[in-house]
Symmetry: C2
Subunit: 243 residues, 2 copies
DNA sequence: CATATAAATTAGTGTATACTAATTGTGAAA
DNA sequence: TTTCACAATTAGTATACACTAATTTATATG
């Protein structure tokens, strides 16, 4: 009806999946990110670990890794388990970057503790063009809102130490909550509440290895973290004041 | 390595697909949107049309529609072809709204002619929570950047007429480029270049049915549109000045 | 009504992604 | 070295989504 009496619109696909380049699927992108993080941190890369982190069964991992090897993203040669090839690494860095840029975008309207989960969905839908626009719009960020360095800026984090490695009396600035901890929205919400977020100055009150806790004072408030959490939080140690 | 000597982080899936609610897939969401648009405009809803608009083969449509019927999103009872059930309509309105909200979000960093294509990818990754945050952040928009009304605001567009229905001398304000035309990035880029965008005042110079063209003057510049394009552009007629 | 055209569906395939159950490897401890 | 625990893989299955080729159903038109 309507105006079809006049002209018939050119019948081109209107809503269609981009099938130009054999685009990497969200699933594979998630594998790439996990592999990237484990490799970057020098952690062991074993199938079970991937299965746990990705929330799938071990056979699924075996299967998917095979496809990734077939597609040249992953290599199995090393005895240390599967690892990213050059193209795989490049793809992984791109997804990581897009995840982080998306987090900054979302942080304009969602709270710090919620952007990661949202970004994890959206990251797979960012195009080259949008990525470039985001980088410009965000003024070339070097970390994500949680302080994790963008690929290529790992040096930034070189001197940041995990809270479990601090000693009572240390004066620090909170710098980073590790990627693998970002998924725990409860933890993130707690950290946000307590101002244990990048940029916050903090003083180490006590470290109790037998109790597996670290207590900080942040903005005049005491916060006690269990080692499991504290391990994932990194801080920059301030040079002791010459007083 | 690293700190694994201390504590082993709780092994919870970190990067995983949400499998809580049987979430509607991007594919199905795209079907829902097309069905919504065709139904809203009172256009015939036939499989071939869907196949063309979605860029898939007719058997794929048959197949997918069956799944949608099975899932209660589409009904086949009516003789006028497949149509959305109440749950299907609700889901369709949600996706449409998210698409449009995403367009506004992206319009902060991408040009008007490019936001639709990008939004078409991202729309499927917007959560309830982000949607709410977007609506607030965008100050409750009632149309998309191309002037299409959000679901529930169709009345807004009731008086807007297609350019092909205008007569020489008409003074109008451009209000809307129809959804089905948004996909044509070349056309959109052309319209943007010529300021044929929502909000622009225009005067109809001539309408040549035999030539299938409409010529406008926008911002002092003449623009000639073919009927196929003009059909998809809607304008608000201004009451003639009492002069 | 008969038939040409268009639309829809069947039938048969293929890939990606997941699962469970069962089997095979592997390294470490006894 | 034997065995146990854990890791990895194989085997078999399932669903979503796509395709081509062939067939069936409608529609329309003379
Ligand atoms: Fe993140
Ligand atoms: Fe993801
Ligand atoms: Fe759009
Ligand atoms: Fe879409």
């Amino acid at each position: 009806m309507l105006f079809s009496a006049f002209v018939k619109m050119e019948e081109r696909p209107v809503f269609h999946k981009g099938a130009m380049t054999d685009k990497i699927s969200p699933t594979i992108e998630d594998y790439l990110m996990i592999l990237f993080i484990l490799q970057r941190d020098g952690e062991a890369v074993q199938g079970v670990r991937l299965a746990e982190l990705l929330g799938v069964s071990p056979p699924t991992v075996t299967n998917t890794l095979k496809r990734m090897v077939r597609d040249g993203l992953v290599s199995m040669d090393s005895p240390h388990g599967p690892h990213l090839t050059d193209p795989g690494m490049a793809a992984a860095r791109t997804v990581m970057r897009r995840h982080m840029l998306t987090e900054w975008l979302l942080s304009r309207m969602l709270s710090w503790s919620k952007v990661h989960l949202q970004a994890h969905e959206i990251e797979h839908a960012i195009s080259d063009e949008l990525e470039a626009a985001l980088i410009a719009d965000l003024n070339h960020p070097t970390t994500c809102p949680h302080g994790n360095p963008l690929p290529g800026f790992e040096d930034l984090a070189a001197d940041w130490v995990s809270l479990v490695n601090l000693r009572p009396g240390d004066e620090v600035v909170i710098r980073r909550i590790h990627e693998l901890a970002e998924e725990d929205s409860q933890l993130l919400h707690f950290l946000e509440e307590k101002s244990v977020v990048p940029g916050s100055p903090a003083r180490v009150v006590e470290v109790l290895p037998f109790n597996q806790t670290v207590t900080l004072e942040v903005h005049g408030q005491a916060v006690t973290l269990g080692f499991a959490a504290a391990q994932q939080v990194f801080a920059e140690r301030l040079a002791p004041q010459t007083a």
